[in-house]
């Protein structure tokens, strides 16, 4: 009995020490039940995978003396968190979903702040013959569907912004019934995963997939991705990132500060230069305050 009590006391002492070290080490000293001084941002994975958030986060935290909690999620679940009021701000890239989000009253406004392009990547051997001059994304998708088995396609399948774009391309290619595409055959692989794992799966299977340029470049640097750009021209490939303040958030002023920071001239310039050092080209184009690009 004595030993059991000793052990329990030891555990509690250890716990006490750890809890003590957190509350001393943590800067804010807020209550555990109602965290103040923390702004929650749900971000789409590409802004995180490219390292852009890692770059911007300390700047924001320092300038406004607030802890930024960045939730890494696909645009789909990010919007859901926003609807539920679990996060304060969203940075996503799913235009139609965002517009509905704001129209339904969950978001204050949709503020585009950066853009880049999606591209279709695939194996160097290009078995489906998609790497042809002048081939549009819609035509490429059409060719894949019309010749089942000529090439495999891996889909994000996770309700993300990229997945939405993929569905939009299928629709533009003449296949509005996405369910029919999804079940078209074993050549279409519904991966249900984030961009990174999807690229890895596509590489393993030597299949085609749709990716945003930033994540593709970032991953090629980190992992063995045996994929090359196949189709990278076409206005449908435009990828616009927006920041949205959620109407259910509890920190209106701080949330607005974040929007102001992202659209400020200094940060816009930094966004425009981000990636040149590590990847040889800028991963994003700034676009705050100008009419939203359409191609």
């Amino acid at each position: 009995m004595r030993k059991a009590i000793l052990v329990i006391l030891a555990i509690l002492a250890l716990v006490g020490l750890l809890v003590g070290s957190i509350s001393c080490g943590g800067a804010e000293g807020e209550g555990v039940l109602t965290p103040k001084g923390r702004l929650r941002v749900a971000t789409t994975t590409s802004l995180y995978d490219t390292g852009l958030w890692g770059y911007l986060e300390p700047m924001f935290e320092k300038k406004y003396d607030v802890e930024l909690d960045i939730l890494y999620a696909g645009s789909g679940i990010a919007l859901e968190y926003g609807r539920r009021g679990d996060v304060d701000v969203l940075t996503v890239h799913s235009k139609s979903d965002e517009e509905k989000f704001v129209a339904d009253g969950y978001g204050v406004a949709r503020v585009p702040f950066a853009y880049n392009y999606f591209l279709i990547v695939g194996p160097e051997s290009d078995p489906a013959g998609l790497k042809v001059k002048g081939m549009t994304p819609e035509q490429a998708f059409k060719k894949l569907y019309a010749n089942p088995g000529s090439g495999k396609f891996v889909s994000r399948g996770d309700g993300s912004g990229t997945h939405s774009k993929e569905k939009a391309i299928w629709k533009a290619a003449g296949y509005p019934d996405y369910e029919a595409v999804r079940t078209a055959g074993s050549w279409y692989i519904d991966a249900g995963s984030g961009m990174g794992p999807t690229l890895l799966k596509a590489s393993e299977l030597q299949a085609y997939t749709l990716t945003d340029e930033g994540t593709f470049l970032a991953y090629k640097g980190r992992q063995e991705i045996n994929l090359v750009p196949i189709v990278n021209q076409g206005s449908i490939l435009l990828n616009v990132y927006s920041v949205i303040v959620c109407t259910k958030n509890t920190k209106q002023e701080m949330a607005t500060n974040l929007v102001n920071l992202l659209t400020s001239p200094e940060i816009q310039e930094l966004i425009g230069k981000y990636g040149v050092k590590d990847y040889g080209k800028a991963l994003f184009n700034p676009c705050a305050g100008v009419p939203e690009p359409t191609s």
């Binding site: 030993k3 716990v15 750890l18 809890v19 039940l33 939730l71 539920r84 009021g85």
Partner: protein, 228 residues
């Protein structure tokens, strides 16, 4: 094979250089698991004793139900906490969701069945003669129960250690209800998931190695306490 070796080297490097992100993740993993485990132990020891020593209708059904809950997926528990404590949920006003508190709560739900089941099993393993002898020597029912608990202390300790291990190594609950915020709710396990998603496989493996090392140290310490 190459990758494993590199991961191992990276793990040593991260530990020796006291990499701040890894230290944060380790601290959070340990704290949350320790708090969850302590609270659960304090709840489950009396509860388990009550269930074992008392006779009541449906006792065997209850024990079966507890053992069934061993198989409760961590994601299910995460979802449950999400639905209840999300701002849009019934208890959303507490503002617990996406904080360490939610993670502790989720882990308590996770490890309670395991600890409860194993404590009941530990107590059942004690020879009835022990409590009968005590009673014949004049012990009250409560005192006889305490003696049985004392007899089962090693198995009970093992149940607590098992609970801690389960909490320390799980990822479903922590990821779903914590939000995986760096330095706040990012544990070693959720960090491993993130790094894998981001393509940093070597770092993810190194974190896994560090997690096992911490678990090893804790077990060695607890074992020595158990045997003294």
């Amino acid at each position: 094979m190459d990758e494993l070796w590199h991961a191992f080297v990276k793990a040593i490097h991260l530990i020796v250089s006291l990499d701040p992100e890894v230290m944060d993740a380790a601290r959070i993993s340990l704290t949350i698991a320790a708090i969850s485990c302590s609270i659960t132990a304090l709840l489950c020891l009396p509860l388990g004793s009550l269930i074992h020593f008392r006779r009541f209708p449906g006792k065997r059904l209850l024990t079966s139900a507890i053992q069934t809950l061993f198989s409760l997926p961590t994601v299910s528990i995460g979802l449950l906490v999400f639905v209840i404590f999300s701002r849009a949920g019934p208890l959303g006003g507490l503002g617990i969701f996406l904080t360490p508190t939610a993670m502790v709560l989720g882990q308590i739900i996770l490890i309670s069945p395991v600890m409860l089941g194993l404590i009941i099993s530990a107590l059942s393993g004690v020879d009835k003669a022990v409590s009968e002898t005590a009673t014949s020597l004049g012990a009250s029912r409560f005192q006889a129960s305490l003696i049985t608990i004392r007899e089962a202390r090693f198995a009970i300790m093992a149940a607590v250690i098992m609970g801690f291990g389960r909490a320390f190594a799980e990822v479903g609950v922590a990821n779903m209800v914590g939000g995986n915020f760096a330095g706040y709710t990012r544990t070693i396990t959720t960090d491993m998931m993130l790094q894998t998603q981001m393509g940093n496989t070597e770092l993810a493996m190194a974190l896994g190695i560090i997690l096992i090392l911490i678990a090893l140290i804790i077990n060695v310490v607890l074992n020595r306490l158990q045997q003294r």
